[in-house]
């Protein structure tokens, strides 16, 4: 069968499947669909407003407006490019090497090259759709700032196609080499090693803007420094440079120059795809076979030659055993959940990248640390609380929400233990809450220390993130159990957390989490703002009305924890396994 016919058949089938998924929305609650639609529209409107204000502000900087606007695009696309490479690597590993569909396709009378090409396309779309969604308001704001016509947006959309193809090819190339030549365990440690080196390099070489630079008198000089320090993103060798240059040229009416960079991008995308698929001829099948020929037996111990394999007491067991008051069943569930998470490449690799980015964020806070005496510091500290909360919401939605669905086909096993599914659900809630609280508390304490904010405010923020951890985990576990995505016995959905999260329940969970965070932060910012507004922002006073707001936050968080959890506990009681 020709590759073309194979692609046509798969496209038709996938179009039908997507249509069925969309039609299935009719069976969902109108309220939820409305909330999600409202959120999407709200994001686009708010995103557009923020970018528009930002671009307008940049336009007011004398002499530098055009170059600053352009540099923003270079920075944005350079950052996006790196993120897309990582995203393609992670999703590609699951889609190309772990999916049951790939195994099935490899038994069909089609070339393995065509199977790889299809999987590459699937990876590209899965890894990049969010990019189109998130960058749409930025593109619109840029176009409005540049007073462009409607054609500009169509051209930009076409520009994104080759731009998405390059990181997809690069990411898949890395995955092909890794799957073929590295053992899974080596890959894990290689990634940790690379992350550590990357973080160390960032610590040494990143020179963010300093707080004193924000002084109006020094603003122009500081911006020049910013341009100097970000010049690496304006290197003509980068795909992000080509896409940004093409956009800039089209925005300014330079059709020829825009077309030139589009063609540079297109030819490089085609070349990258060609290299990737050419390499796949040698490495895809070999890598697939290699990947499925390892890790089948425990720690390299040949099970067949060892009649009895006794379970060892590892570090994890010893750590969990230290926890007081846990009965054997809960202990076993905790160990199982942690172990399964650690052994799932798609889970821990995203977790590692997530915390790598957080590390960069915390490192950057050094630059805004100064005396606690300005409204700027107050603003930054609450922004930090907001950022930490958003991080937590992303963490709970991405990693906690799919936990119940991930039990999938194994649900009957944990559901049939004498304690039942309620106990399983509660174990997941406590485990995720304690872990999330520990991570977020460490984050908020470090960032507060770096920002040198007063102890009483650190205490407020710390206690807030602890209650938020419990509430956000309550929402994630609760919604995860209320809207599980088990698929079926032969489904490709229930074993891929990224796909579970991208579904309806995951979106709803994230939106609820964001709404909760907005209310909590708002409840704490408002009394702080009114107190400071009355006594002056430079006052060292401690707004005692914050105590009342904290009580409100705690009660509200208790409700946010208990309502979804109790609904979920009721639901699992009647769940047919």
């Amino acid at each position: 069968m020709s590759g073309f016919v194979f692609f046509r058949l798969l496209s038709e089938v996938n179009a039908r499947i997507i249509r069925r998924h969309v039609l299935a929305l009719r069976e969902k609650s109108y309220l939820m669909v409305s909330v999600i639609t409202l959120f999407i529209v709200g994001y686009w409107v708010a995103g557009y407003a923020v970018f528009r204000v930002g671009f307008s502000t940049l336009e007011t900087v004398p002499g530098l407006q055009a170059i600053l606007l352009d540099r923003m695009l270079f920075l944005f696309f350079a950052f996006l490019f790196v993120m897309l490479v990582f995203s393609n690597m992670i999703i590609g590993y699951s889609t190309i090497f772990k999916s049951q569909e790939t195994q099935w396709m490899l038994t069909l009378p089609v070339r393995s090259l065509d199977v790889f090409r299809w999987k590459l396309l699937e990876t590209t779309l899965l890894a990049s759709w969010a990019f189109l969604f998130l960058s749409a308001p930025l593109m619109l704001a840029y176009g409005v700032t540049r007073h462009v016509t409607g054609w500009f947006y169509l051209k930009v959309f076409l520009l994104f196609v080759p731009f998405m193809a390059i990181p997809a090819a690069l990411g898949s190339l890395v995955i092909l080499i890794v799957a073929r030549y590295l053992h899974r365990r080596m890959f894990k440690w290689a990634l940790f090693g690379c992350s550590a080196v990357g973080l160390a390099c960032a610590l040494v070489f990143l020179k963010p803007m300093q707080a004193e630079d924000l002084d109006q008198a020094q603003m122009v000089a500081a911006l020049q420094d910013l341009l100097h320090n970000s010049r690496v993103t304006a290197q003509p060798i980068l795909p992000s440079y080509w896409v940004a240059s093409s956009m800039i040229a089209w925005g300014e009416g330079g059709t020829g120059r825009g077309l030139f960079f589009f063609l540079v991008l297109l030819s490089n995308a085609m070349m990258a795809t060609l290299v990737c698929t050419t390499v796949s001829r040698r490495l895809f099948y070999e890598g697939w076979s290699h990947n499925h020929s390892q890790g089948r037996f425990q720690s390299g111990v040949p099970v067949l030659d060892t009649p009895i394999v006794l379970p060892r007491t590892g570090l994890l067991e010893r750590v969990v055993n230290l926890w007081p008051g846990l009965d054997e069943a809960t202990r076993a569930l905790v160990i199982k959940d942690v172990r399964v998470f650690w052994r799932d490449t798609s889970q821990w690799s995203q977790f590692a990248i997530f915390f790598g980015l957080l590390g960069l964020y915390v490192l950057n806070l050094r630059s805004v640390a100064h005396e606690w005496k300005s409204d700027w510091a107050c603003f930054i500290s609450f922004l930090n609380l907001g950022a930490s909360s958003m991080t937590l919401a992303t963490l709970t939605t991405r990693f906690v929400f799919p936990q119940f669905s991930l039990e999938g086909k194994r649900l009957w096993m944990v559901g049939m233990v004498p304690y039942g599914l309620k106990r399983v659900l509660l174990e997941k809630f406590w485990l995720s809450s304690v872990c999330s609280a520990a991570i977020t508390l460490a984050l908020i304490l470090t960032s507060s220390w770096m920002l040198r904010i007063p102890h009483w405010l650190t205490l407020l923020f710390s206690s807030t993130v602890v209650v938020m951890s419990f509430a956000l985990c309550g929402i994630a576990v609760g919604i995860g159990a209320l809207f599980p995505s088990f698929g079926s016995g032969t489904s490709r959905r229930d074993d891929n957390p990224a796909k579970i999260v991208s579904g309806f329940g995951g979106t709803f969970c994230f939106i609820l989490s964001l709404m909760y965070i907005t209310l909590v932060i708002g409840a704490e910012v408002w009394p702080m703002y009114s107190s400071f507004a009355a006594s002056g922002f430079t006052s060292r006073g401690q707004p005692w009305n914050l105590v009342f707001s904290w009580i409100f936050v705690s009660l509200f968080s208790l409700a946010a924890t208990c309502i979804p959890m109790s609904l979920a506990l009721t639901r699992v009681e009647s769940l047919e396994i």
Binding site: Q100, L108, E286, V303, S488, T490, S491
Partner: protein, 248 residues
Amino acid sequence: MIRTENLTKRYGELVAVRDLNLDLPQGRFFAFLGPNAAGKTTTIKLLAGLLKPTSGRAFVGGYDIQKDPIAARRVLSFVPDTPFLYDKLEPMEFMLFVGQLYGMQRSEVVRASDELFDLFDLDNTRNQLIENLSHGTRQRLVIASALLHEPKVIIIDEPMIGLDPRSARVVKNVLKKRSQAGVTIFLSTHILSIAEELADQIGILNHGKLIAIGNIDELRQMSGQVGALEDAFLALTREEQREVTEPA
């Protein structure tokens, strides 16, 4: 139709399949038995071309599965123990998709599907999504789709799991009839009665090594047992286990 030459697969230090030599002619119904972790699934994956052998060769329908995989897969149907289906398709849509992947005309697929749906009692599921079907119905659908393109070789791993007695009987009858019509069947199972009932030839794999091959009488003779296949199987594998655990 299925031939292996010193087929070997190693997982690091462990030899999962060791120097396997098989030669199954057209129409042979071969049952592949062995204890857990004997290397049955690895052998099946090697035959289906899903794994690359460490050494040796495997031929399906006369084609080397590594050198000429597309030609080999055209004549092959592989049904794994955990088959894949698209949840959001209806059974007929899935059959059309699979048939067209094997280069069949749409009308040809519809005609063959009608017969298979009738045979496997799948008619009442036509308008349901696969996600709503029971495990047994899904299993029947997978087997039906595997027969759609009239393969010359069928490799099937644990086909009876999840099937009710009536469905199991249907599957057994269909496989036996195909075998009598010239299709080579390679069936891996733990259910010894199925092997006893259907197979022309039985192979027993233990520790990656083919320790016995022959029809039931030959296996009885090898094992020195006179009873059911179960006795012969246990005796042969026990013998092998003793050799492994108590080296001379």
